[in-house]
Amino acid sequence: MQVGRQFESPVARQSYLWRVRLKVWRRNTSEFLAELREHPLALLGGIVILLYVLAAIFAPLITTYDPVQGNLRHRLEPPAWHPEGNWEHPLGTDAQGRDILTRIIYGARVSLMVGILAVSISATIGMFLGAVTGYYRGRLDDVVSRFADLLMAFPYLIFAIGVMAFLGSGFINLVLALTFKGWVEFFRLVRGEMMSEKTHEYVEAARVAGLGHNSVIGREILPNIIQSVFVLATLRMGYMIILEASLSFLGLGIPPKTPAWGSMVAAGRDYLLVAWWVATVPGIAILILVLSINVFGEGLRDILDPRLKVE
């Protein structure tokens, strides 16, 4: 029986296949965007996140001020909408005459980098451990689960403060401190999902088709769990950013010279009565980003589950 298209050469067939693949990818992307349009809040959140990311990447192109070196003649200038403000410094300046907008934009680099790194490392570790223990159970599961329970007993912030005090401040240490406990959430999620997915018949069917255990975990079960991991990752991202800001606020995060939102709030604390914007504006920057991430994450949860899709 002859089925399917005929091609003159394997190359022609391959180029046809690539065109089809591209078409599928385009269709999937536009489908995703179309669905995103039905969740206007999530779309808005996504746009705001994108703005933050773009601003962080292209920081030197957006602002000409130096984020570290201030101009003492322009100390504590109010933001533009203030009667005494001007558009030279749209969000005002701080006690050392540095432009607050500039510092927020550069601070976004730290927050986003810490958030992305901490979450992706946590998610990778948690997913790996959760998948292996949830599928195989046994002694390893007991050990890792008890260790995870142990970590759960500590409040996150206190734990991170302890780790930072032990490791000392710095970018890498900050990411480490956040991942030390961050993987537990992902571990518990993936382990639980793995234990429930494992009982589904498609797992047995895959074994019947001749797949080994590791292929069953990676190729059959994980694709069914991955969307929950994505959703948790976005939601945790907001939390990680807040934690980073809290640590920086306490002076345990990023070393003082690098602009970070938390330390900006801390520095502005002393001027709250005379120049409220120094502490408030970075706080609002944190608020908007975290809120956007959470709203986006919840929209993602509604969109990503393939089982909820009905045509």
Binding site: M1, V3, G4, Y202, A205, R207, P223
Partner: protein, 348 residues
Amino acid sequence: MEHNPLLELRNLTTIYPTKRGLVRAVDDVSFAMERGQILGIVGESGCGKSTVLLSIMRLIRRPGRIDQGEIQFRGENLRDLSPNAIRNIRGKEISMIFQDPLSTLNPAYPVGEQIRESLQLHRVMNDGRLRLSQRAREKERVVQVMTEVGIPSPMDRYAAYPHQFSGGMQQRALIAIALVCEPALLLADEPTTALDVTIQAQILDLMRRINQDHGTSIILVTHDLGLAAEFCDTIAVMYAGRIVEQGPVDDVVSHPQHPYTQGLLNCRPRISERDLRVEPIPGNVPDLADLPPGCTFAPRCPRRQAVCDTGPIPLVETSMGNVSRCLLHVDFQREEGWGWGDKVMRKA
């Protein structure tokens, strides 16, 4: 050359240790089947019919295990194979289809890709030709199989997800997965139970066509004796882990020898005889961890005798050409004075 049947089970025993004791889910099951044959395994739920299939595939979940016996497939004992070797048999030489097609298909992948996965895994299309075109050739084969099992417009259906298929189409897709590597033996675990009657007939029809066109042997596990009677060449009736009656389909259905088979036939509703009451078998399937000492069916048996409670009951050849695990076929009267136990052991 010595003649080997396609598949032969010899005294297969599969056990599950439980808190209340050892459960023999499959107890001393033996049968042989030839190429192109259709065997039906019939019994109530929990009688071990699915466990037989999983034992053949060597997929018994721990702590359960195959305790005794041989599984001869094409002359080699599957129990002796290494994990890698048995994986090469699964899906390629022996495939299996399940009861609930939706939960058996992976929701995360398009149906076509799931059918292709077997080809890819067993490198069926890997003939040393250009690597680039291998995927395309695999896809062509998938579309061919999808056409064969009767999925309409397979080119468009290739990229559809399982939940976009109807129940009958899902079962067809599942059969396509099982058939794509052209296995010699297809294990069907209640393949039509989740489907409505018209679709059931279509699926059975499809399976019969596959059996005729490719000479694929089929083991059909079902609780429906009527369905098995229509579809199979030979039938094995299982009760509490043991085969209680076995033989060619006509003999088993028209002259059932074991009271359990007779009971199964009586509790089947028939359209032609409306007034005839359906007669259920009284009582329940015994607890597998705590079986009666003699005949496992004795507590529910309408023709129970005192001897039924002593010793293990052998499979006895009856006058009808089937074998039956029942003492009714043993002529006790003539050998009065013998201990029943002795008699039984000798026959075994």
